[in-house]
Symmetry: C2
Subunit: 396 residues, 2 copies
């Protein structure tokens, strides 16, 4: 039997999905599982999107342009202009989700053995894209005590070498919910200019900000050649399955080279693009309602968590995630136990163990990531499960 | 300005799409362009697919399982069983097009610097997937004089080294239309066993076979751990834009490792999967009509080509491509000239220069790939353009 690659062996499993088989077993036994492990919102996709699909007038579901439909790129540029960003349609390449955007950027901007700096905890799949590109991740640890704000810039400078090519941030952040201030971004700006690095910013949670408006890296002056923004319709319009994202940059060389990778995979999904273009007609009232809903969920979850003995959860200002530290020996063991052994009213709750969001070993071992993507009634039951689960688990 | 990667610089542009800007300019000037450069069929997507989309009853367009919807995988397994292949649903992982299937396989089975053998000319994007995985392609040249049949097995053995991990074939073949015989596949089988290699077979054109039925690598005995089949709905149901493909293998280690790459990108497109599942209800009469149509197109195009002075085109037995050798100095120059300078009745024709389908330098420089994906009336006009174009070009 031929051997598989070292790259495949080094590829991490998704911490968000690695316990899925235990959840499947629990469900097969008739137990209800509250899924707070994955950022799959229960929020309805805008009716504009569903209506567009049910009125699909196409005879052939064809390839689109490799960079995406010109009509969609143009409408998307208008959306960016509407939030104050100077973006034209030729600054945009449509991708198969934000995932492909980051994968392409790793390949366009970094070679095997090059290094990328990422404040941790970070969205775990960044590890996967780095591993599949042969790129080495250099984590800088953000601490739960400091609400996961930007670590001191000296920490970044300490790990910069001749192989460092880029910094990746997620803002608002998955998995911490932290929103970087303009001042923090200005500090990063100086660093990026000083060492002539790329700055990739995953801004897919832009609309989910509960205290003010986040600053886009595209608004930072003098970084036109350094900055690339990664976007996605997945969360904004609750249409994760569309698999439509974008690379947005004023650096033409990055974009034209990303297009070569885009040509190799032919085109982003046509049906998803039609849906995403329709999504741009979503009225503001949709977002207003969604934000009210998520803010209420956040407030409820954070309050419940911090009221549990030994649990610490900083207040996230954006996205729909929170990281909580639990009074347990090991979060992965606990999360698996919740699925395999525990139930309350024939239900249990599933979280993502936070260790998988850290690149440094031995960090986050007692932390979980909570995606507050269920309605308040379900969140209440899920928090009841956690509270009771902690008591039972610690008695064992 | 930070430098982009060597990998990006080495990434080839798609020969199928690289002349697109010239085509766009021609169209902007009001010239009609017959697109025989790209495998985008004009055949209608089955009504079962369109009807499924217009009856979409979903409130949330969610992620699917990273390996694809279980219901779709199960129905797809039944389709394979129907064509005599022993495939179960857990032998299948759904991918974002056949493109992603091959990209994942390159990453799962080969490390940076490893080698893959591919008979050339081959589907040009294999070069792209290899380049983006750091894998080295070792081409074995198939000759137009031998109708692009399997090159002598000694040619394969000559290039096998300790770094050789896999052989890739496309059957029926893009870009040649050649269909490998059972005897040729048996010869490959021996080679694969002798050196314990992977054999990846791109079988997306299975239904497009004009003289008999093609043999799937999945039917070769004793290759359960070596063989991986790549599939796609793009051509079968004329739904290229759905971006739904599959990895099919009895090698569980390959599949479980491919799933890690699949988890990193979350899920294949949901809307495309819904469409693809509906496509499996397409009646046989649809394919019967399509095959009659393509056979007529093939016969017409090949006859016209071979009737042109100095043009040589072997008869393709499958897919909807043909490679023709032209009496010109350089096919890329000629193809660009057709778009920029030439017109007949205010129309012109676009082909893919075949050099991009060869990995060896200096091969195929006078050849073009023709995708006969237009109706007979358009093909007639396109062939008129080519015939007249050759005369005018060679007078200049």
């Amino acid at each position: 039997m031929p051997a598989i690659s070292k790259k495949a062996l080094s590829m991490p499993s998704s911490p968000i999905r690695k316990l899925v088989s235990y959840a499947d077993e629990a469900k097969a036994k008739g137990k209800h599982v509250f899924h707070l492990n994955i950022g799959q919102p229960d929020i309805k996709t805008p009716s504009q999107v569903i209506n567009r699909m049910t009125n699909l007038e196409r005879e052939v579901i064809e390839y689109s342009h490799s960079a995406g439909y010109p009509s969609y790129r143009s409408k998307l540029a208008t959306y960016y202009q509407g939030i104050g960003l100077d973006v034209q349609n030729d600054n945009i390449m449509i991708t198969t989700g934000g995932s492909e955007a980051l994968l392409f950027l790793m390949q366009v901007c970094l070679d095997e053995g090059d290094e990328v700096i990422i404040p941790e905890p970070f969205y775990a799949n960044y590890n996967g894209f780095a591993a599949s590109s042969g790129v080495s991740v250099k984590p800088i640890t953000a601490s739960i005590e400091q609400n996961f704000s930007l670590p001191p810039i000296e920490d970044f400078e300490k790990v910069i070498t001749s192989k460092t090519k880029a910094i990746v941030i997620c803002n608002p952040a998955n998995p911490t919910g932290y929103v970087y201030t303009k001042e923090e971004l200005d500090v990063l700006r100086e660093l990026v200019l000083k060492y002539d690095l790329f700055l990739f910013a995953d801004e897919v949670y832009r609309e989910f900000c509960y205290e003010g408006t986040p600053t886009s890296v595209l608004s930072l002056k003098g970084l036109e050649d350094n900055v690339v923004m990664i976007d996605s319709v997945s969360k904004r319009y609750s249409m994760c399955g569309a698999r439509i994202g974008a690379i947005v940059t004023r650096n033409n060389e990055v974009l034209s080279n990303a297009l070569k990778f885009g040509q190799a995979r032919l085109s982003p999904p046509t049906l998803g693009q039609i849906a995403a273009e329709a999504a741009l007609d979503t009225p503001q009232s949709y977002f207003d309602e969604v934000i009210v809903e998520y803010k209420a969920r956040r407030d409820y979850v954070v309050k419940r968590l911090n009221a549990m003995e030994g649990v610490v959860c900083p207040i996230p200002e954006g996205a729909f995630y929170a990281i909580a530290s639990l009074p347990i020996d090991n979060a992965e063991k606990f999360c698996q136990w919740l699925l395999e052994e525990f139930s309350l009213n024939n239900s249990t709750v599933m979280f993502a163990p936070a260790a998988g969001f850290y690149s440094s070993k031995e960090l986050g071992l007692k932390e979980i990531r909570i995606a507050y993507v269920l309605n308040l009634s379900d969140l209440e039951k899920a928090m009841d499960c956690l509270e009771e689960g902690l008591k039972v688990y610690n008695k064992n």
